[in-house]
């Protein structure tokens, strides 16, 4: 989680201060526990599908930081050779992160197809697809969840309810108290979990993943969390109320988890310091790697249009 947080701080710095990163990077501040909790609950062979806010998913799936950073720089050494950018950094099938769709909701039907293939091949693999609260109002979501339900497919629908779809508050966009209630309409379980608590996310995911693996079908997992920054890196998020932001800052998943681990004597202050130092030096290397990497020659682009 710290790796994700420091990475995002660096991205913000490179964008705002130095102009080295351009484009609409969607930061993951505050939601780190979801990616880490879900990723830790999956086994080798399982997959995830990410979305436009995928830096955290990529790092949680152990995609090397330098590849993720290089993709943000648009470099040939990035996860997508600089052709995907921030919204597709989490494409690394060899590391279990299959694909990232930047059209809200559209990764869900694709995840259903992946799960269909798992079932077709009679394997016990599972796919988790990440999407935000905004995605539950797209047609793709409804069609896909229904299909996953009728065919009992091994797909975990991970809704990162960060309370905002750009500037639209989730509570104004959906006339339900909890998004997980949507699951009932499709005859599948809806589980609500504290998305700021990595252990809670991990435990909940583990349980529904095992169910899916045994052929019990999909689950809608609503992770309640909060986007501590704007929608994109350029967004000052002035539509949020100060009290709301302050309340959620107190629930910061990293600060609280660190406090808990130290309180339980799992980690010492100096352990935390050492982890921080390690991440920071890796981050500096990643930035240098990204800066020094080449860009794909324009003439080569046509080679990537057709297989």
């Amino acid at each position: 989680m710290m790796e994700i947080r420091f990475f995002e701080e660096k991205v913000e710095e490179l964008y705002l201060m130095k102009g080295l990163i351009t484009g609409p990077a969607h930061l993951y501040f505050g939601e780190e526990a979801v990616a880490v909790g879900v990723a830790s609950a999956l086994k080798e062979g399982d997959l995830i599908i990410s979305n436009h806010r995928g830096h955290g998913h990529a790092l949680a799936k152990d995609i090397p930081m330098k590849e993720v950073m290089a993709e943000l720089f648009g470099k040939a050494t990035g996860t997508c050779k600089g052709l995907g950018g921030s919204m597709h950094v989490a494409i690394s099938p060899e590391r279990g992160s299959l694909f990232a769709s930047a059209i809200v909701g559209s990764g869900i039907p694709i995840a259903v197809g992946v799960a269909l293939a798992f079932k077709y091949e009679k394997s016990d693999r599972v796919i988790a697809v990440f999407f935000g609260d905004g995605a539950v109002n797209t047609g793709a979501f409804h069609e896909a969840v229904n299909m996953a339900a009728i065919w009992n497919l091994p797909v975990i629908l991970v809704c990162e309810n960060n309370m905002y779809a750009i500037g639209m508050k989730a509570e104004k966009a959906v006339a339900l108290k909890n998004l997980a209630e949507r699951a009932l309409g499709y005859g599948i379980p809806g589980v609500i979990v504290d998305g700021n608590n990595p252990i809670a996310v991990w435990l909940a995911t583990k349980e529904v993943v095992e169910k899916a693996r045994k052929g019990c079908g999909p689950t809608f997992l609503e992770c309640k969390t909060y986007r501590l920054k704007g929608h994109g890196i350029y967004d000052q998020a002035r539509y949020r109320l100060r009290d709301e932001v302050e309340a959620w800052l107190k629930k910061d998943p990293i600060i609280n988890f660190k406090k808990n681990l130290i309180g339980l004597n799992v980690l010492s202050e100096s352990d935390v310091k050492a982890i921080e130092e390690e991440i920071k030096s890796e981050l500096e290397e990643a930035v240098a790697f990204a800066q020094n990497s080449p860009i794909l020659p324009f003439e080569e682009l046509k080679n990537y249009v057709y297989a």
Binding site: C80, I103, P109, I110, V112, V114, G139, E143, M147, Y304
Partner: protein, 325 residues
């Protein structure tokens, strides 16, 4: 050689694919128990089972999305979208996802799906069940678009689509389902991007797409009695487009008509005309003429629909006015 109908040729290609390749499965609305809206997949459910012939709810976006996901896992899904008019419902999955995934992933992923669909112009299906809109896909790099006009092409192009590692939109014409023609028993392929000269001629080239191939051939036969020699070229795929073959024909005849069931404005004909002007302007002895549908939605009333449709008479008229000028 034995003769099959266009519909039988497609059915045979699909069935052979299911028999030969366990990675192939079909997914779409009413393709199983109902046998397909046009009966192309009739009895496939009994023969291959529900895992390989997947009946779906009415969910076009999820049908294509699910096909994409399965293809990413190494399967070879063949999705059916019942009418081409329903393609806009899944256009997002087809154009933004299927066509771009390879590019956006820096070449890591590929999406070898086939999306079968058909258009029903000429069957009094009204404005929302008759459209022919292949030109929409000319602006989507990453897709391939095949438009078979004969039973022979239908099987050969389908077999090629099976081998292709890219998303292929395979557009059938329901008015052609009962048209008969020679079809070899073996599984041959027709390469994409290779036009077919359906009839050789000297005076005018007619580039005809899908159903219009038959109208162009009928027109050519009538004109032949008047001593005119018409060349009929069928591009067979518009993405990739065999512009060289069209240019070669234009160089020979100096006159060209492009015939299609699409609306005239922004149709495939517009693109072909632009390419001819770019590449062979000096060989033209007359303006390029397009015989296409008018820019209005398709009327239901059968007589009005007949008037709406491009046909052999309109091609003959176009040939006559070209030769007068």
């Amino acid at each position: 050689m034995r003769e099959l109908t266009y519909g039988e040729a497609i059915r045979e290609a699909l069935r052979n694919a299911l028999i030969k390749n366990p990675k192939v499965f079909l997914i779409g609305e009413d393709i199983g128990a109902y046998g397909g809206a046009f009966k192309i997949t009739n009895s496939f459910l009994e023969e291959f089972g529900a895992e390989r012939v997947k009946d779906t709810p009415i969910s076009e976006a999820a049908i294509v999305g699910a096909a994409i996901g399965a293809a990413l896992m190494g399967l070879k899904p063949i999705a059916e979208i019942m009418y081409m008019d329903f393609i806009p419902i899944c256009l997002e999955q087809l154009a933004n996802q299927a066509a771009k995934i390879r590019f956006m992933s820096g070449g890591k992923l590929k999406v070898p799906i086939i999306v079968r669909t058909q258009y029903s112009l000429g069957r009094a299906h009204g404005a929302q069940h008759s459209q022919f809109i292949p030109s929409w896909f000319l602006q989507v790099p990453g897709l391939k678009v095949a438009l078979p006009s004969t039973p022979y092409d239908a099987k050969g192009l389908f077999n090629q689509a099976l081998k292709d590692d890219n998303p292929v939109l395979y557009v059938e014409c329901s008015l052609l389902y009962r048209v008969k023609g020679p079809v070899p028993e073996e599984d041959y392929t027709i390469p994409f991007g290779k036009a077919d000269v359906k009839k050789e001629g000297e005076d005018v080239t007619v580039v005809a797409i899908s159903r219009m191939v038959h109208e162009a051939l009928a027109a050519a036969n009538i004109l032949e009695e008047k001593g005119l020699s018409i060349e009929v070229i069928d591009p067979r795929t518009i993405q990739p487009l065999d512009i060289e073959a069209i240019i070669d024909s234009v160089k020979k005849t100096g006159r060209v008509i492009i015939a299609e069931d699409d609306c005239k404005t922004g149709g495939v004909g517009a693109e072909i005309a632009a390419l001819i002007v770019e590449k062979a302007f000096d060989y033209l002895d007359a303006p390029i003429t397009r015989v296409a549908a008018p820019d209005i939605p398709i009327p239901f009333s059968p007589k009005l629909e007949l008037e709406y449709m491009p046909n052999k008479d309109k091609i003959i008229q176009a040939v006559n006015s070209l030769l007068k000028g």
